[in-house]
Amino acid sequence: MGATTGSGRARAEVREEDGVLVLALAGHLDAAGTAEVWRPAESALAGLGSRALRLDASGVDYADGSGTALLFDCLQRAKRKGGGAELVGASHEVRSQLELHDPELWCEQPAPERKSDGLIVEVGRATTDAWKEARELIEFTGAVAIALKFALLNPRSVRWRDVVRVSERAGVNALPIIAIIGSLMGLILAFQSAIPMKKFGADLFVADLVAISLLRELGPLMTAIVLCGRSGSAFAAELGTMKVNEEVDALTTMGLEPVRFLVVPRVLAAVMTTPMLAVFANLCGLIGGAVVFLSFGHPLVSYYRQVQGAVTHVDLLGGIFKAFTFGVIVAAVGCARGLQTGHGASAVGLSTTRSVVSGILLIVIADMAFALLYYALDI
């Protein structure tokens, strides 16, 4: 007397005949049918012990890859237990499918080896990777510096058409977002400072605060961060895709240096557009501050005179020089990450993320260095 499981599509019946466990499979063993009888068959084989298995497939009217896998699995499990296994009643089609797979190859299913390397090895590996990355960045910086020097000495060698194209995408097309963020930044700064300053009757100096903060610090910094997220990532994705598609290799084998051909136009475009975007951000921020200033009942001329008295051309030029440096960082890091891209679509995504993270980190570090430098120079 056997036990039958399964429903409409496929059935599995287990019985014992003369000390042999008989597993009779029947029905339509496609993916749906196989899913119905896989677990029952597995349970039957778990109780096989040292007995032999007779796998009766006489009732199987169809078996696709999943049905074949089930028959195969049953036979291999029984053989591994040492009692032997035989397939009876299988149609020519089912046997043909099974014969496509080499049973010797599948007798043992080696578990994938996964062993931990331990903390010390992991730390060592991370340190080596960090050092390798730092070295690559230093090498890349050197290569860009050499290429830029060559470009300055030989302006005709620069692909100016690319420079204009990238300037338009990274600069002109960024104007709306810079305008919105710049004006809101001025507005927020003015609002946040006006309330406490009004307590001391110093609300007139809101204009000074907004002007100094924007021109010296926030204008260039905010512009660089927006540019890093917008254009640095685009550079990384563009060059990363070229790397994946072997276009960078094609350039190299054609005798064209990727740095001169791809990186220099982007760096030049970024250093030209970032200072202009920073000035534009300053202007928008001052307009935002003026709106708040006017709303407190002060005339516009007072705002103008306060701003004029608070900042000098040194503050403006100091900010522009910062923006220039940030532009180099954004473009160089974006391109470096793009050229470091590994293989596959996920590598491009990884490069893009890394370009934004390391770009913002380097911008903030550079900003700190500027703060110390300007303090030392009393600017």
């Binding site: 993916a31 749906a32 999943s66 496509l100």
Partner: protein, 266 residues
């Protein structure tokens, strides 16, 4: 009809693909027109022709990536043209496709690539899915490479992995776009054998776009020969018969030139 038509094989077998008055192209540009053919179950049907004649365009229309400009394409008795999105998904689930580049998902191991469709479309337990995926990879000679990423494989191995992925759900029809490209002669011959055994033993129908004449003669039951200049199919039939008896000068020169070059001593 000016086209040379030859019919071969067992006509009693079930028709799984039928093209009626098919016209394909891009936008308003017609690439091929007046295509009429049927493909039967278990048949290896090769689309042949010179570069740029529209072979891949025809294939992309047959697998539902492009909408034909006119005519009908039936896959297993169901018309793909004008089908709703749900019907189209249902029809396309019965086919498998491999692309020229392999188009494997780069962030997944090849085992995961093959497992994906099984996980999404079946209720099989994980260990069953794992075994099926490994067996499919074993069929295409990739045992031992299951845990590798596509980027770690050679071009030929990627192509074979793509075939394993296309076979994951045991489709009735497999469309292969340049499957032999990038394979060494031995692997290519092994792949030919695999295609033949899958077609003969499992009744899988193959529609193959290829330039490899050696493979065409080894595996094709029938070829559909396309001419880009005349924008239509100029011959259809068994490749050996076409080579011997075709009266079309393009077909003759195509077979002779390439056959002659492959028969030259090394």
């Amino acid at each position: 009809m000016a086209n040379e038509q030859q019919t071969q094989g067992d006509d009693r077998r079930q028709v799984v693909i039928r093209a009626k008055g098919l016209e394909v192209g891009y936008g308003k540009t017609v690439v091929l027109t007046g295509l009429e053919f049927e493909v039967r179950r278990g048949e290896v049907f090769v689309i042949l022709g010179g570069s740029g004649c529209g072979k891949s365009t025809l294939l992309k229309n047959m697998i539902g990536l492009y909408e034909p400009l006119a005519g009908e394409i039936e896959l297993q008795g169901r018309n793909l043209v004008g089908a709703s999105a749900a019907e189209r998904r249902e029809i396309l689930r019965g086919i498998g496709v491999t692309y020229q580049s392999g188009a494997l998902f780069g962030s997944m191991t090849i085992l995961q690539n093959v497992r994906l469709a099984l996980q999404e479309f079946t209720d099989l337990p994980p260990e069953a899915i794992d075994l099926i995926a490994r067996m499919k990879l074993g069929l295409v000679g990739l045992r031992g490479s299951e845990e590798k990423l596509p980027a770690e494989l050679s071009g030929g191995m990627r192509k074979r992995a793509a075939i394993a992925r296309a076979m994951a759900l045991d489709p009735a029809i497999l469309f292969l776009d340049e499957p032999q490209a990038g394979l060494d002669p031995i692997t290519s011959a092994e792949l030919d054998q695999l295609i033949l055994s899958l077609a003969r033993d499992l009744g899988i129908t193959f529609v193959i776009v290829t330039h490899e004449l050696a493979s065409v003669f080894a595996i094709a039951d029938r070829v559909l020969f396309l001419d880009g200049k005349r924008k239509t199919a100029v011959a259809m039939g068994n490749p050996h018969d076409l080579k011997r008896n075709s009266k079309d000068p393009l077909v003759r020169s195509f077979f002779r030139r390439e056959v002659l070059s492959t028969e030259q001593p090394a």
